[in-house]
Symmetry: D2
Subunit: 357 residues, 4 copies
């Protein structure tokens, strides 16, 4: 860090500052920056910039090094692939995860699972431990619903993930799932992240609708620090004053992240828009911007559902969308990781080019 | 709910809609609203408005009843009082909770506790289970630090609260505390809220920096639904594009809430501003707007702290602020619930008038 | 409008309300909505909902009709086309407008104009009356620069537009331009909009970075009301707390608008991202979402420019982007309105399908 | 500016960078900052940081000097006073400007003017050139209404201001007014600001609801650069996702600005809240935070008004508020500049202390 001194800092003031730094166990070089005096810290320190900014004579603290982190070390040209069973995301693979908002009857779920697989999904999603704004809303089907989803997943041949909301769910339900979703509202629930990370299964970390990119990546850092690198990020819209959509989908975060980190980046247009009619256009935009996957709510009879009816895409629209997406992927030399074509471990797309290049 | 039909809905369409509603187990009256046809549901339903909006022939769903909730039933003229040991908030009492960001040594904490009590605080705060954006930041002193804070609290004679971040902390640490803080990032961690509510101790629920008022009150509703009515709300600034402050303090939420619910409303100017120099003005504004309490970070040597140094208020500034606040409270006929004057159970302020009146 | 009465409104109260409405010259039908009483206004009124909501006994005012506006009447299936010289936007045509932030020397501008035309642009942009946040920044080249741009436009064979910032510019500079840009910061400068509208030339209306969609469409309504229907809208990002981009590009506004109005919708990824490296991915996303045009800053030597250097796209990147965009458009059955292929008046793309379908 | 070089910048790269800077006419000192190389510019430059950041070998550009501006030179301890006729703002004076949203009949306006003067206002406000979101809304009474307001002002003995929206209004209407309001939506209408500044009368510059503090101060800088220092700033709420208020009042901007600049800072709680019931609490908060003035919409019969009925404060509430405000001001040693007590030029409050101290 560089401590930029006040423009009128006198020599005695500068000596006192040197002494104050020494007292905190820090060494520093004095330098001149044009007409200004500054101190450049040469010893590593735990003390944050704002502590140093309160020292007498300091005007501002300029950061010198950016925080290097486990997340930024994942970066490699072309991206990396995270697998969840036969599903793949990143490194040239684009995968669709689809399913209902909430798991209801086994028959209904199986019907949906077959429809989304047929449309091109590589994985199934469905909520059993719901995070509902109101305690009076339906709270999900719990462990019973999870077992129904597990049976359907195996029968239909689609891996699945579901959201965990409590660290105590990991021991009772962790065995059953192929992957775990950390929902937006739990993005900074670090005890949950740490416990889920220890399961060793793929984790989809959604961005909180009120979180900056740095906070999101720092949350991913908690998972990596716990020893689990199978992380996919999922953008689902940020809170904004705009009322034509529920949340504003941040498409720019896709190329921003793809140029900095290797973790696959997915996009959830359903929760962003809150309106199924906008979902296809947003999904196309996400893939064109380079997204490594889509998370889409689909339901054959949305008007009868107990949650989020307005955002569920009917199966015919999902199929039409995926026809377009397959064409889009060809323009980038990328491939769809669909359930029809269960890819084997060495089955790489021929020429993975970065979509944002 | 009122289903407003499309302007060109024909008689056969209206019949089909009636039939579709019957099939969902719903009864409805047909009415005319000016030139438009509409259906008014007469049976209660679990189905959300957005499910009904997908029925054929429906243009929009107009809400007829506002959700009545446990939180809105707490409302009474003049507000209600929540006590935490000798500290009181609401119903004419304004209380200051102050302390360091994080609990470090027992000696340092005791010094701070005595300074804030002398300045007029009625309760002590300090973090032991920290929620840090980065896993590489200091994560708090844990149970050891909590025991230090408990000893200091008893020696100095100030009740205290601390944040819980994991439902599993309740059984091991719940006995030790006088109250529990639910931090902004855990506002919608409903398993945590439910577990903490069962402790039966006062809970301070901070508003997430990205949450609307409805979401905040719905989170409080979870606590009330779990049988615990000792809830105080705490506004701590919302995320905004503005860069002159870390978070934008929403002062308007104080009179808005005071006219709708009875739960005390506190304000935390320290985390909002992120700059101690702005804290006194914001604290005065909060009290003038009718806040039932303040949560302020204070430290005698902020430059040596391991977290949030830029927002800790030096003790002399805290004392000056509280001198002003005492005068402000007189203008409203309210009283400071300070530690010097440990109030007894029947000790009500003479004429509690609503500050926003 | 429907006036929903307070749940305990008595018969005398309802009579008094009827009388109060009569006194304001309004007639109303009394209806029952389930257990609630309501009044449905049957006469048109100028009085806003919030005036009526203050009448005694009224709990809330429910809007019955949405405001029908000139803008919403522009809607037709497949969209409409706005032409500016040989350039076309909407109705199956996608057009690229490109150029420098600010017009500097005639030679430099001509070089850029040739490069962007070659890349596929159908029109040239460049600022001469600049809107600069600071009065100490370069304010643009004024009328001289406009004449340089006019000469270059004619020599190169590309129509051009530039921003007007003052109603007094219309009479002195209106003759010279092919189209006028209303910049984001002047979106609600209604005297300017009205004066520019009277020119009768195409207008590109950018969305203010702090404006909702309703405000944007209402600004367009001012232009239509002044008798000019040649309006194209341009999304350029909204102000948000996020710091990885200058403004958050709202891609969702493209399909939202395309399903409601007929005016072409353009996207400006350069000002949104503020970083040229993000521009190609955002441009692709915009086209995939159905945008009718792109506005992109391009410059062969960005490091020497006097404004917005970080967002200018080098020509090679622009060419690569447009190669991709041409392929994208084929997937929708849309065509690029480029400068190489000056389209004649009846030259329609074969099968314009809505991109968002 | 400091150019921080890439960590692996070699000696030949550093030489090439020196040469590139020379070619741009810039001189620079090479320095070491810890383990990093850097160049410190020693010649002033017009080139922005983002141009320099594109030079080869540069990683980041660190700003060294903050922009010194005319606005920041206005700062002095205790603030400065701006007078408009007998009304005063800043330097220990707090003034209330009140009146209707829009000027209707002369009788109605005179009644309001007398009521607000009696309540403690020192100036009258009222719109005649309205900025209405929709072209179908009432657009104000124009010059006729302005002449009515001028007559009422003189009869009642209150100076007044009104909003100008078009530079061409200055020559026809500038003579009549005591001061000019620049409304939020015109904050960055720089031709308007420059023209109004030349009138030489006091200007109230409102903050755009989507503008950061830097942009607001830069707009004020345009006025000062045009030679007019009689500027008062007015905060009126920022656009936010929150729906309990129309705009989120940024109280923190008051102490933030008071510690940096000398221009008086006013607060408009009426347009922020959009609900008259919240206005008193927000007005108290603003004064407690140190605001130099209030701008409040008041009307004796809000339900009959043609605009913004929901925010007009009834006269009895305004009187009650001002009684409280007078007490608040005493706590700071400040005085109310009211119309009853027309202050003479040398009439300073006895001990102006900064409210935020």
């Amino acid at each position: 860090m560089i401590l930029l001194l006040q423009s009128d800092a006198s020599a005695p003031q500068r000596s006192r500052l040197q002494a104050a730094l020494s007292a905190l166990g820090l060494s520093a070089d004095a330098v001149r920056l044009g007409e200004r005096h500054a101190m450049v810290l040469t010893s590593p320190t735990d003390l944050p910039a704002d502590s140093l900014a309160r020292l007498e004579g300091v005007e501002r603290v300029l950061p010198l090094e950016q925080r290097t982190s486990l997340v930024s070390e994942t970066f490699r040209e072309g991206g990396t692939t995270v697998s969840m069973g036969t599903a793949r995301f990143g490194g040239g693979w684009m995968g669709l995860i689809a399913g209902p908002c909430t798991v209801e009857s086994e028959e209904a779920l199986e019907q949906i699972a077959r429809l989304v697989k047929e449309a091109g999904a590589c994985a199934l999603r469905g909520g059993v431990f719901k995070v509902r704004t109101s305690p009076h809303s339906y709270q999900g089907g719990g462990l019973d619903a999870l077992q129904r989803m597990h049976r359907v997943s195996r029968r239909v041949g689609l891996p699945f993930l579901t959201e965990f909301t409590d660290p105590r769910q990991v021991s009772v339900a962790g065995e059953l799932v192929d992957g775990v979703q950390i929902g937006a509202r739990h993005m900074q629930n670090f005890p949950l992240l740490t416990e889920v990370a220890a399961l060793g299964k793929p984790i989809m970390l959604k961005r909180h609708m009120g979180a900056g990119v740095d906070e999101w990546l720092s949350a991913a850092e908690y998972i990596l620090k716990a020893g689990n690198e199978q992380v996919v990020l999922c953008e689902r819209g940020v809170r904004s004053p705009d009322r034509h959509v529920r949340f504003l989908l941040d498409v720019s975060v896709v190329p921003y992240l793809k140029s900095r980190i290797g973790l696959p980046v997915l996009v959830d247009p359903s929760h962003a828009a809150g309106d199924w009619r906008l979902v296809p256009a947003l999904a196309k935009a996400a893939v064109a911007a380079g997204a490594d996957g889509l998370l889409i709510e689909a339901h054959p009879a949305p008007e009868s559902t107990r949650c989020d009816a307005s955002q569920a895409l009917p199966p015919a629209d999902l199929r039409a969308l995926m026809t377009y997406v397959r064409e889009l992927l060809k323009l980038d030399g990328r491939r769809l990781s669909d359930g029809a074509l269960a890819p084997s471990a060495d089955d790489q797309p021929s020429s993975p080019r970065a979509a944002s290049a």
